[in-house]
């Protein structure tokens, strides 16, 4: 499978992360989204007329929706499946709010930054409520007691909120959930989402 990828994109990271958690190899093709806007190049538009990233190519299949990509990657992994449609919608709202604030703050993209942040905070409050209820019910993840593609869809833009000037300090349930995902076997980091150094075995200083 080939992933047309941009290293700073939360949506591309979603797919890299899912593949890594599953142990599914991906061939990454770097696309110069910034500054060269290669996602709008003739080659990329031929692949995806919408001109968005990521794009996942699996033989004849070309996917341009990250939710569909998560379903495709996990089609032989029922343990990762669950109620996903409403969470894919939620992930899109996160992308349009916190994701927009992040692009504004990092890459100077035009945006109504106050609105983007305010609407992003509303999303975080509702996610915090969901995850707190889940904890009261003995479940650590969005749809149950183990992570599913709903968690992977929502994770990147949530974890990257501080990049757009939105603090995660007020949300203890979200912070615990972020930590749970970062602790999963096969977790990979991206800039702005650090690995759990404390989970790595202490280095051997004897030699």
């Amino acid at each position: 499978m080939i992933l047309y990828d941009y290293v700073l994109s939360a949506s591309c990271y979603k797919i890299r992360l899912m593949a890594s958690l599953l142990g599914t190899p991906l061939t990454l093709k770097a696309v110069n989204f910034h500054p060269a806007r290669e996602h709008k190049s003739p080659e990329m538009l031929a692949l995806n007329p919408a001109g968005t990233l990521p794009v996942l190519v699996d033989d004849d299949l070309i996917l341009t929706d990250s939710g569909e990509m998560l379903r495709h990657l996990t089609k032989a992994h029922p343990e990762w499946r669950g109620e996903d449609a409403q969470w894919f919608d939620f992930a899109q709202t996160l992308n349009a709010t916190l994701g927009t604030a992040r692009l504004h703050d990092i890459l100077n993209y035009p945006a109504d930054i106050d609105t983007a942040r305010r609407d992003g905070v509303m999303c975080l409050r509702s996610l915090e409520e969901r995850l707190t209820e889940q904890r009261f019910n003995g479940s650590g993840f969005i749809t149950g007691n183990r992570p599913t593609i709903a968690d992977i869809a929502v994770f990147p833009n949530t974890a990257l909120a501080p990049d757009g000037g939105v603090s995660l300090d007020p949300y203890p349930s979200i912070r615990l959930w972020l930590r749970a995902i970062r602790s999963l076997l096969g977790f990979i980091e991206m800039p702005g989402i650090h690995r759990m150094h404390e989970l790595i075995a202490a280095p051997d200083y004897s030699s």
Binding site: V7, N32, H34, P35, A36, I106, L107, P191
Partner: protein, 278 residues
């Protein structure tokens, strides 16, 4: 704004990225820039033209009267190098903090884990630092560090040798071992545009020998590295760079940073700096 701050050259745009005229900030003041390569212009808030230089793929200007020409990087001119426009990233930190972070090696294993450094190879060996009086620049040489993946073109871990150079208060140049061409130096720069004292736009630029990687891969690699630094930079305190020793206790690994701060103080560069001991 003091002449010691105004009379320097500052990067304000990537030449290939200039389309319609646009506004930006330089040292807290509005400027407008536009034009095309060879005929670029910058105007201040009153509409007066500011001096311009086009170099290293970027547009440079000054709100004052620069006392010397914009620095050069002769190594970057040699044939066969890939000149990489990395684009810009905005960071809410002092421009001087951004430069200082670029000069630091000791954070590699912890912030750029498994790329520019890895535990347990955390020790920074002694290296040479000097403020070169003839050119009025800070130089660090004979810097050596173990790196798991020093560049996009590097396979496996190698001990990389570095030289660091600060040719202007908000610019740093890094020369590093070039995996495919022993004997040559890859050139990696950090050009920082001070938007305000605590907010900057960072324009990395590179001149590399790399026949393997695509341009997109080289850009991605550098953006990955710099974005790993961004969240750290935005959380450093005090927000402005203290130029006097105080509560911070530098170690031997911080020699370059100590020289950089000392040099800033010597040339009277106070923008983004804290002059009361922290």
């Amino acid at each position: 704004m003091t002449p010691e701050v105004a009379n320097h050259w500052y990067p304000v745009a990537m030449v290939s990225g200039i389309q319609a005229p646009r506004k930006t900030l330089l040292l807290g003041q509005d400027i407008t820039l536009g034009g095309t390569s060879g005929a670029l212009w910058v105007k201040d808030a009153q509409g007066a033209s500011l001096p311009v230089v086009e170099r290293f793929g970027h547009l440079w200007t000054s709100p004052g009267q620069p006392t010397r020409d914009l620095f050069t990087i002769p190594e970057a001119d040699s044939a066969g190098r890939q000149l990489v426009d990395v684009g810009s990233v905005r960071v809410k930190c002092s421009p001087l903090r951004a430069v200082e972070n670029f000069l630091d090696i000791a954070h590699f294993p912890f912030v750029h884990t498994d790329i520019l450094g890895a535990e347990p190879h955390t020790e920074v060996d002694r290296y040479d630092v000097q403020i070169r009086q003839d050119v009025d620049e800070v130089w660090a040489t004979k810097v050596k560090f173990f790196q798991p993946q020093a560049a996009k073109s590097a396979e496996g871990g190698i001990t990389t040798e570095y030289m660091y150079r600060v040719p202007a208060p908000t610019c740093a140049v890094l020369y590093k071992t070039c995996p495919p061409r022993p004997g040559e130096w890859d050139v990696i720069t950090l050009f920082v545009q001070p938007l305000t004292e605590e907010w900057c736009e960072v324009w990395p630029w590179m001149a590399l020998y790399d026949d393997e990687s695509t341009m997109a891969e080289m850009v991605s690699f550098q953006q990955l590295i710099f974005m790993q630094d961004r969240s750290i930079l935005e959380n450093q305190v005090p927000r402005k760079l203290p130029l006097d020793p105080g509560m911070e206790a530098p170690t031997q690994a911080d020699m370059t940073s100590v020289a950089y701060r000392r040099w800033l103080k010597k040339i009277g560069y106070s923008y983004g700096a804290q002059l009361v001991a922290a």
